[in-house]
Symmetry: D2
Subunit: 329 residues, 4 copies
C-alpha cells in the first residue's frame, strides 16, 4: 500500500485524488494547497488530511510519495524538495517552461532520477498501449509516418492561457512526447500556426498549429492541434509503415448510432475532455508509478523525457517565430 | 453480339434498355409496349425500334432474346410465346402471382427451361456475390443465421400496390430468393406483419413485416421489410456461422462524413432506390444471361427458382392470415 | 449509506460484491454461501463478513438489503424470507423457472412488491438508456421493428446448462425483457431454433434461435441468439420507426483499427462477456436500487416484469416444440 | 456531340479513350501515338482511327478537341500546336516540369487560355465535389486545417520514376492542386521526406513525404504521401473548421465486412488505384470540359492552375533540399 499526498487541489489534482482513492494499492493521505480553503473540500471528499503548507507533506513520515499538480512554475521546487525528503514523485507535465530550469532540477536530483516520473498520461491510454505493443511486434513494419490529431473541445480562459507557456509547452507537449514514444529521438522541428480566436491572438499565442517532427530514422510525425473542436475532444493517432497502418479512433460515451433523413450512422460527440477520455490512462499511469516505486525501478516517462519534450516545444516556438526549420542536436 | 428486345417501356424496362445499351456484347433491337406511344420515347433514346404490338418481337428474326418487363399478369404468356418463337428470355420477377400459373408455364416450356432466366437482380450485386463466394469458401463455417433487412425508401402509390400481389409477392420475394440462394431449400415459413400506413391498410395489405424461414439444415433466415425508410433504401444481409459473420453494408453516393456539434461520423443517405443501388447488379445479371444464352447453358436463377420463391410467398401470406407456421413440402 | 448482503459467492455474486464495494453510497456487509468456504475468499477480498448460513443475513440488523445471486431454484424462497425480514431485495434473473412459482412469490410478498427489484442489467446499459431516452423523445417515431442480436462468446459447460431451464429462460429472457422495455406488452410469440452443438443437443436444448414477438401496437421484436460467437459477445439492438433508426453497436476494449493487406478498418473483438460488457450497467442498476430503497419508491424492473419475461419464455418453449405461434393473454 | 482525339495510347490515354467512348455527348475520332503500332489496338477497341503522326490530329477537321496524354515533356508543344489549329485542349498533369516552360506555353496561347483545361481529376471526384460544396455552404465554417493523405499502392518502376520529375511534380502535384482548390493561394511551403525504398533512393528521389502549405488566411494544408501502401490506394481528405469537420473516406469495391476471431468489421482493401478510384472523376472531368467548350466558357482548372501547382512543387523541392521554409510571392 503506497501512501500518497497530492499537491494542488485544482482540476488535475482532483483527478489524481480520485484515481488514488480508487486504486487498491494506494492510499490518499493528504492534499496540500496554499490557497486558503482549497484543499479542505477535496480532502474531505476522499477522506484525506488537508494542508495549507505544502512543506508539511515533505516532513510527513506517513507520506511515501507525492503527486505534484500545482501550477507549472512550482513544479521544480516541489520535485527537489520532495526528493530531498525521500519521497517518490509523480509530477504533472510540463516539468517547467524552461529547459535550463529542468536542467537545474536534474542536477539537484542527481542519483535519484529513478524516483521521479512525469505524467504524460497518454502513454498509458489503453488504445495507445495496444498500438505501441503492436508496432513493437512488427505488425506494420518500421514506422514511416505518424499523424497525431489533438484538438481540445474549447479554449481555456485567457487568464489561464496567458501563464500556460503557450500552445507548444502547454498543449502540444503531450503530442511531442507521443511522437518520441513512437519514433524515438527527434532531429528537426518545423512549426506553422495561427490565431483564429481574438482572445488568443490578444495574448500573443496561437490556437491552431501544424508541427512536423523528423526522426533520426527518416520517419516523420505530423501534429495537428486546435484549441477548439465542435465535435468534442478529438484525439487520434495513426501510424503508417510498409506493412500497414494502425490508428486509435475517437471514443464516445456510448455506441449509439442514428440513421434517418438527416444522415446515417451518426455517432455521438467524442468524450468531452481529458478527464473522461483519459480516465483509464490516469489509472494505469498511477499503477505504473506505484509498481515502479515499490520495486525500486525507474518509472517511465522520466524527467529526461519531460526535458526532451520541452526541448522540442522550444524548438517549435523558435520555428514558428523565425519561419525556419530548427535542427535539434 | 446478342440482339435483344424489351417488352414493357416502364421504369424497369428503361433500366434494362439502358443496361443492354451499355453492354458491349448486347444490342438493343426493339422495345414493345401496347400502351400507345409508350415505347417510342424509350426506343428513340436508345436507338431501337418501337413496337406497339408485342407479338412483333416474337416474329422478328433480328431478335435473339426477349427481356420481359411488362406487368406481372402478362409474364407467363410472354414467356411461353417467346420460347415458342425460339427466343431466349430474361423475365422480371415474380414469374406470376400464382404458383399454379407458373406450373402451366413450366409445362409449356418443358425442354426449354434452360432458355429462361428470372431477374432476381440481387444475386448479382457485387457485395452479395463476394459474400456468397466467401461463404462457399468456408470463411464463416456452415451458416446458422441469415438476417436480411430490406426497406424501401417510400411506398409505391396505392394503385400500383393494389395489383402488386401484396408485400410478400411484390417485395419480400427478393428476400425469399436471397434466403434460398444462401441457405438452400426452405422447410417452414412464419410471418408477422402490420399496416402502419392508412393507404396500405386500406387496400388490405401490410407495410411492415418480419418473416422467419427455416432451412433443412436447421439454419434460419430472418427477413425484415418495411415499405418506408427515412434513411433511404436500406439493404443489408448478415450471415452468421461458427467461424464468424459477413455482412453487406449499405452503400452511399460518396464516402463523405461530417463531425460536429450535431454528432460525429455522419454519412449520407443510402443510395435512393434499386435503380442506383443495384445498377451494377443489373449489368452483371444481363452479362450472365448473355453468356449463358451464347454458351447454350442454363442461366440461374431459373423459372424453378422463381416458382420456389413464389411458394414461400404464398406460405407467408397463409401464415400471416392464419397465425400459423406453415411447413413446406 | 445502504448496507447490503450478497447471497451466493459465485461469478455473478462476485460481480455484485465488487459493484457494491465500488459504490460510494453502498456498504458490503456480508456474503453468504452455503457451500463450505465459498464465501470466505470473496468476503475477505471486499472486507465483508462471510456466512455459511444464508438465514444469518435475514436476521442481521446491520443488513438493509439483500442481493440474491444464488442458483435460480433458491431465488423465491430467499426473496420471501428477505422481505419477511424487512430487507429490500435485488434478485438476479430469472425469478424462477416456473410462472406458478413466481405467482407464489408475488402472493407471499403482497404489499411489499416495491421492495423487490429484478436484475435485468441491460436496461441500465448506458447505450440502452440513451437509445430508450431518444425513442421516448420521439426521435424515430413510434417503433415498428426492434432487432435484438445477443450471442454469447462460448457456451457454458453442459452441467450448468442442464439446470439452466433452457435457452429461453436462461439466455433469451434478457432479450424478452428488453423487448418489453422497448415495446411494452407482447401479444404473440413465435420461436424457431436448432442445436448445432452436440453437447447441447445431448441435453435436449438448442443453441441457436430466432424468436419473433408481436406487441399490441403491431410492432415486432426479432431476437437472434446463439450460444457461441467467434467475434466475442455480440450485443446489438436496432429500433426502427418512421423517422429513422437507432442502434447500439458493439463495444471493444480500445478503438484501435488496423488496415493492411489482410483488410482495412479491422477492429478488435467485442468485449469478452457480460462482466466487461455490462460493468457500467451493473453499477447503474445498483445505483437505481439504492436510490429507490432510500426513497421508498418502487424500483424497476419489478417481480411483475420478471414474471412477464418468464411468461414469454414459456410461450417460446411451447412455440418451439409445438411449431405453433403462441398468443399471450 | 464533341469530336475528340486522344494523343498518347498509354495507360492514361486508354482511360480517356474509354471515358470519351462512354460519354453520350462525345465521339472518339482518333488516337495518335508516335510509337509504331501503339495507337492501333486502342483505336480498334473504341472504333476510332489510329494515327502515328501526332500532327495529323491538328489538321483533322473532324477533330474539335484534343486530349493530351503523352509524356510530360511533349505537353507544351502539343498544347500550343492544338490551340494554334483551333482545337480545344484537355491536357494531363503536370503541364510541364518547368515553370518557365509553362510560362512560354501561356504566352503562346495568350487569348485562348479559355480553350485549355488541365486534368486535375480529383477536383471532379463526387466525394470531393460534395465536400467542396458543403464547405462553400459554410457547414464547417472558414477552413483552418486541411489534411490530405495520398498513398499509392505500389511504386511505379524506376525507369518511369526517373523521368517523372520527382515525387512533388509527379505525385504530390495532385495534392497541391487540391490544397489550392480548398484553401486558395498558398504563401509558404515546407517539405520533409525520405527514401525508404532503395530503388527510389538510387535515383535520387524520395518515396515518403510530409508537406505543409500555409494559405493567406492562416489555414494550413498538411499533405502526407507515400509511394507504397499495403492497404491499397489510400485517398483521404479532411477539412476542419470552427463548426466541424468533413472528410472523404476511402472507397472499396463492395461494402462487405467480416467479424470473427481475427477481428471485427474488417472491410476490403481500398480501390486498387486511380483508374478505379477516380473513374467517376474522369467522367465528370470530361463532362465539364465538353460543357465548357460547347458553351465557349473557360474550363477549370486552367493552365494557370497547373502553373500554380507546379510553383508549389518547385518550392517543395527547394524546401526539401535546403531544409528551409520557402515563401511564395
Amino acid at each position: 500500500m503506497l501512501r500518497l499526498a497530492v499537491i494542488g487541489a485544482g482540476r488535475i489534482g482532483q483527478v489524481h485524488a480520485r484515481t488514488i482513492s480508487d486504486h487498491p494499492g494506494a492510499q490518499l493521505v493528504a492534499i496540500a494547497d496554499p490557497v486558503p480553503g482549497a484543499a479542505a473540500a477535496v480532502a474531505d471528499a476522499f477522506g484525506a488530511r488537508a494542508a495549507e503548507r505544502v512543506a508539511d507533506v515533505y516532513h510527513d513520515d506517513a507520506v511515501d510519495a507525492v503527486v505534484i499538480c500545482s501550477p507549472t512554475p512550482c513544479h521544480v521546487d516541489q520535485i527537489i524538495a520532495s526528493v530531498a525528503a525521500g519521497k517518490a514523485v509523480l509530477t504533472e507535465k510540463p516539468v517547467d517552461l524552461s529547459v535550463a530550469r529542468v536542467d537545474e532540477c536534474l542536477a539537484a536530483i542527481a542519483g535519484s532520477e529513478h524516483r521521479v516520473m512525469v505524467g504524460f498520461n497518454r502513454r498509458f491510454d489503453p488504445g495507445v498501449r495496444e498500438l505501441k505493443a503492436r508496432v513493437d511486434a512488427g505488425e506494420v513494419g518500421e514506422l514511416r509516418q505518424v499523424t497525431i490529431v489533438s484538438r481540445d473541445p474549447a479554449a481555456a480562459p485567457a487568464p489561464y492561457l496567458v501563464s500556460s507557456g503557450g500552445i507548444f509547452k502547454d498543449m502540444t507537449i503531450h503530442d511531442f512526447d507521443m511522437a518520441r514514444f513512437l519514433l524515438g529521438d527527434i532531429v528537426e522541428v518545423s512549426a506553422t500556426g495561427h490565431a483564429f480566436i481574438d482572445d488568443i491572438r490578444g495574448i500573443g499565442d496561437i490556437d491552431t498549429c501544424s508541427v512536423t517532427l523528423s526522426s533520426a530514422s527518416g520517419a516523420t510525425a505530423t501534429i495537428l492541434n486546435s484549441r477548439v473542436c465542435a465535435a468534442g475532444y478529438d484525439q487520434r493517432i495513426e501510424v503508417f509503415g510498409p506493412k500497414g497502418a494502425l490508428e486509435t479512433t475517437n471514443l464516445r460515451s456510448t455506441g449509439v448510432r442514428f440513421s434517418g433523413a438527416s444522415g446515417t450512422e451518426t455517432a455521438g460527440s467524442y468524450l468531452p475532455f481529458f478527464l473522461e477520455r483519459y480516465a483509464a490512462a490516469y489509472s494505469a499511469e498511477l499503477d505504473h508509478f506505484i509498481t515502479s516505486v515499490e520495486a525500486g525501478t525507474a518509472p517511465s516517462p522520466s524527467v529526461l523525457d519531460g526535458r526532451a519534450a520541452l526541448v522540442i516545444a522550444e524548438a517549435a516556438g523558435q520555428s514558428l517565430s523565425s519561419r525556419q526549420m530548427v535542427p535539434l542536436a
